[in-house]
């Protein structure tokens, strides 16, 4: 947090200096940072949010024509969408579609909706917007699966589109909050901050963030994955011990 604030301050000071006295290379059009580069999943984890903030050289807003777009990407998470069908009066899982290239987490925020400030082809190549994600399906190609994927991912908070705004203070300082739900996957996350002027992306900065399990949750998950047999035996012994302990405690009282 402090490191980021110092950076933002430095950027502001740079902006405050007379523009004519500076070479273009030394004046970044965009400076951004995040409040933390590590989200830790502890035993008490219920979700987390990080602040993305920074400053721009020129004034932001519809008058000056500059906008900031913040987009966060999680690791790839191939996802299967199943549709329930009624068979003999029972609802069972029927046809399915697999989406192999979708991100496990995606959040988009901007000062103005991206479709207003960027042409469609740039918006698509930069993948700004849920409909611009690579939603290639294997299996059933019915559009209902794509719609269900978009709806369900948004409902549980793993995909967000304009869920929170990019806030602007003093015309040049911007900040946006990226919220991770408690179901967030571990891995490397990438946050892109884009500066848009005259329907073009004029500057971009990439920030990186790691989501990791720490403490007990981390050791349990890693033991369970790397040594499943040992983990299974430990689970059995712990459960037996807990049961035995209970009977002993009861007998004393």
């Amino acid at each position: 947090m402090i490191r980021g604030a110092v950076l933002a301050l430095a950027a502001l000071l740079a902006l405050a200096a007379p523009a004519a006295a500076q070479a273009p290379a030394s004046t970044p059009q965009l400076t951004a940072d995040i409040s933390t580069d590590r989200v830790e999943i502890t035993t008490g984890f219920t979700g987390a949010s990080v602040m993305v903030f920074g400053a721009t050289e020129h004034l932001l807003g519809p008058d000056s024509g500059e906008d900031v777009v913040v987009v966060a990407w999680g690791p790839h998470q191939p996802t299967i969408v199943r549709r329930k069908v009624k068979v003999l009066g029972f609802w069972i899982n029927g046809p399915s579609a697999t989406f192999p290239e979708v991100p496990g987490f995606y959040a988009l925020a901007s000062t103005r909706p991206v479709w207003e400030i960027l042409p469609e082809d740039i918006r698509r190549t930069a993948r700004l917007g849920l409909d611009a994600l690579p939603l290639r399906a294997e299996g059933s190609q019915a559009p209902a699966f794509r719609a269900a994927l978009l709806e369900l991912k948004q409902r549980d908070g793993r995909w967000q589109e304009y869920a929170t705004p990019v806030q602007v203070a003093g015309g040049r300082l911007f900040s946006a909050r990226v919220s991770f739900p408690d179901t967030v996957r571990t891995g490397d996350y990438r946050i892109e901050v884009l500066l848009v002027r005259e329907r073009r992306i004029v500057a971009r900065q990439e920030l990186f963030l790691r989501v990791d399990r720490v403490g007990t949750a981390a050791s349990i998950a890693s033991v369970a994955r790397s040594m499943p047999a040992v983990y299974g035996v430990v689970c059995i012994l712990l459960a037996a011990l807990a049961g035995w302990l209970g009977s002993v405690l009861f007998r004393r009282s």
């Binding site: 008490g44 199943r82 029972f90 049961g243 035995w244």
Partner: protein, 303 residues
């Protein structure tokens, strides 16, 4: 107080889990069963993924049954030889059951299979229990003595006979092996110890005396659920120890209250109540299967 479950990869209210553990423990103490048949559906109901609910339910069953087993062992109420024969069948059954579970998970039908198994098994067991106990209650009211349990049936004509001294039986090993096998499959798919099925099977199918039935069934349940836990941990990777221990913490306490209360109830009445409870769970799950789902679509991780 939220707690993060590392294997289920979600956070759940710890007090809710303690409460569920306590309630299920109370009922299991009252009725003398492990309570897995209530626990797994409840866990699925609060949003725990089916594979984690089943595997952790089996893990919890070990803890819930081990104290009972110790108590019965001290009173010398365990027919070890019968237990080992049942266990041999149970190991084979749970081995097959876990394979079946892994296949169902691959084709995306775990939820359906678990629900169908529950509805069918609980429905049948519940109906049999209610019928039997009502009959016993009417018989007691009318003053008719109970019929003889050990009747000679075709089961006694099977080969490979073996003497089970503590059960005072000389029967073929095929029926106990088959009973153990069937319950092994069910415990792997349903995440239950199978005590609620094993006890009636031992009394009515095998003709064992009631005194050794509970202890021997607990012996089988502890080891079969240990086997299921191990196999699920290795093959599916879905045992959540944090979930298990929270449930056990509530369950161990609840079981003591339940047992104290159960001592004041008559055997037939207890069995009738348990039968009704089992039936209610079966009907609830059946309703979940036939009711039109809120959302036709569901997401899952691609294999």
């Amino acid at each position: 107080m939220q707690v993060y479950l590392p294997i289920a990869e979600m956070s759940v209210d710890a007090l809710l889990l303690l409460g569920i553990g306590f309630g299920v423990g109370w009922l299991s103490g009252l009725f003398g069963v492990g309570g897995g048949f209530l626990l797994t559906p409840l866990l699925i109901l609060i949003g725990i993924p089916s594979p984690v609910a089943v595997a952790s339910g089996a893990n919890q069953t070990i803890g819930a049954s081990v104290s009972g087993l110790i108590a019965q062992w001290r009173r010398d109420n365990v027919d070890l030889r019968m237990g080992v024969v049942l266990l041999a069948g149970g190991f084979a059954g749970s081995l097959l059951g876990v394979q079946l579970f892994a296949v169902l998970r691959r084709v995306g039908q775990v939820d359906l299979a678990v629900a169908v198994f529950y509805v069918v098994v609980l429905g049948i067991v519940g109906m049999l229990m209610v019928r039997e106990s009502l009959r016993a209650i009417f018989r007691r009211r009318a003053g008719i003595p109970a019929g003889k349990a050990n009747q000679h049936t075709w089961l006694h004509g099977l080969p490979f006979k073996m003497r089970f001294r503590k059960s005072r039986l000389y029967i073929s090993v095929v029926p106990p092996l088959a009973v153990g096998f069937g319950i092994g499959i069910l415990s792997a798919v349903m995440g239950v110890g199978g005590g609620f099925m094993l006890v009636p099977a031992m009394i009515y199918l095998l003709g064992m005396p009631t005194s050794v039935v509970i202890g021997t069934s607990l012996f089988q349940v502890v080891f079969v659920s240990a086997n299921v836990t191990l196999l699920q941990a290795i093959q599916v990777g879905s045992v959540d120890i944090v979930l298990t221990l929270l449930l056990l913490a509530g369950g161990v306490a609840g079981a003591q209250f339940g047992a104290a209360m159960g001592a004041r109830l008559r055997g037939e009445e207890t069995r009738a109540l348990l039968g009704l409870l089992v039936l209610a769970v079966a009907l609830g799950l059946l309703y979940g299967l036939v009711r039109a789902p809120e959302n036709l679509f569901a997401l899952g991780p691609a294999p």
